[in-house]
Symmetry: C2
Amino acid sequence: MHLRKEKKILIVGLGLMGGSYARALTKAGYWVGAVTRSQSSIEYALEKEIIKEGTTQPNEDFIGKYELIIFALYPHIFIEWIEKYQSMICSGAVLTDVTGVKGSIVYKVQSMLRKDLEFIGAHPMAGREVYGVENSKEELFKGANYIVTPTSANSVEAIGLCMDLGKVIGCSTVSVLTPEQHDEMIGFLSQLTHCIAVSLMTCKDSEYLVDYTGDSFRDLTRIAKINEDMWSELFLLNKNELLQQMDLFIGQFKALKDAIATEDRDKMKEMMKLSTHRRGFFDKERKL
Amino acid sequence: MHLRKEKKILIVGLGLMGGSYARALTKAGYWVGAVTRSQSSIEYALEKEIIKEGTTQPNEDFIGKYELIIFALYPHIFIEWIEKYQSMICSGAVLTDVTGVKGSIVYKVQSMLRKDLEFIGAHPMAGREVYGVENSKEELFKGANYIVTPTSANSVEAIGLCMDLGKVIGCSTVSVLTPEQHDEMIGFLSQLTHCIAVSLMTCKDSEYLVDYTGDSFRDLTRIAKINEDMWSELFLLNKNELLQQMDLFIGQFKALKDAIATEDRDKMKEMMKLSTHRRGFFDKERKL
């Protein structure tokens, strides 16, 4: 186990994700501290005993004692934070994150970081359509996938530490991908699906639809409730990859549309059989 | 209450839907019989006591005692059944169905039906990705929407009877739409969503994706596990409406894609805010 119990862990950004890390890690027996923007989040987390200490004002005395730091911030705020406060971090500390894009973040942070610190990217594949530490959950990551995205700049030890972290917070599958593989995967699995949900939900005025809908429309649009600041930033940071995934989807959607228009029943059935087969691999649903 | 407890109810087609009707109606205290193709389905339903009697061979003695008949068949088999066996139905009986398209079915059945019988279309907005009476559930319709699609050929009493039926099986909202309104609604809410799920699921080989996915991709593709015979038939029976809904969606999807390509952050956020607002009407999720 690389993630020893003596390690103090700092969460930077105590929102839904940061708060859920804090809960899971505190529950697992770690000393957890937090830096965040709002004093009320700190107070809430102290009261709920999901952190040992917290501050809205980063300073060396506070920051300097943490050997592992998890950043749960908007990407551009993450970069700003490193620029401004990395001088306060103790030598040898490992930094990791939860950011939903990697290629445009990981190399940048690694190149600007002090040489005696190490940053390794990670992405827990879990979330909810609500915000803030008040909505955080100890079990948010239970059974979820966790992706670690090392580069040649990373040590074997930091990779092991980060993989341990994924297990400790409750993820069931911990994988290693390059930042580029991650971005292709996430462009397809997460960003494209959010684009589909948003597009579908904006098609029609929906108030009167509620009385007629079945579960399929509900399921497809759950993620249409979306934080526009966060997701517009993530989309643009993965723009080229996302556009390719969108084109791939449009191609398949148009193929199905053509089959319907020309009443090509064989083609329709062929696509449905393929989709049924491929969905079969997902049958082991994650239960929260 | 138009659906009096003395009325004997016949289910034609004892699969997932028909079986779930049988369970819910038997539980509610009605006498339920069934006609279906497979003897093993009859035996299963008798053993589970979800029907009082059943046969694979329609005959006048059997059919003639039922005053309400619910058809849970593929559309083309439904039409064939009416042609072949309507002579066996007792005078004054009301017929209804569960078919997922209406415009191409309702008028046809009404025009071919004996003048002393009445057909009124209905569509319970519920389903599962599994088949057969063995997978049927008494609570399948619990909290679901139920749509009745009368025409000028229908009596007030039959409309009331059919609406009662929706309530008795457990639906929480019973609405009345014309067949045309129904088909537009279902083209958008159900058929389009299935087209999206199938297209998305056919984009990539999926076996290796399972370890990286989050809940959004799972939710969007749940319905990609699809009965290709049933759904290709339903799509083609609502072809013109569905193609229009597909075009509507492509338009919105391309607008979002253009906003990403041109880095038009305002446009992206505007769509996301609208989708968040509209999804808000669906917040009261249906719980099974």
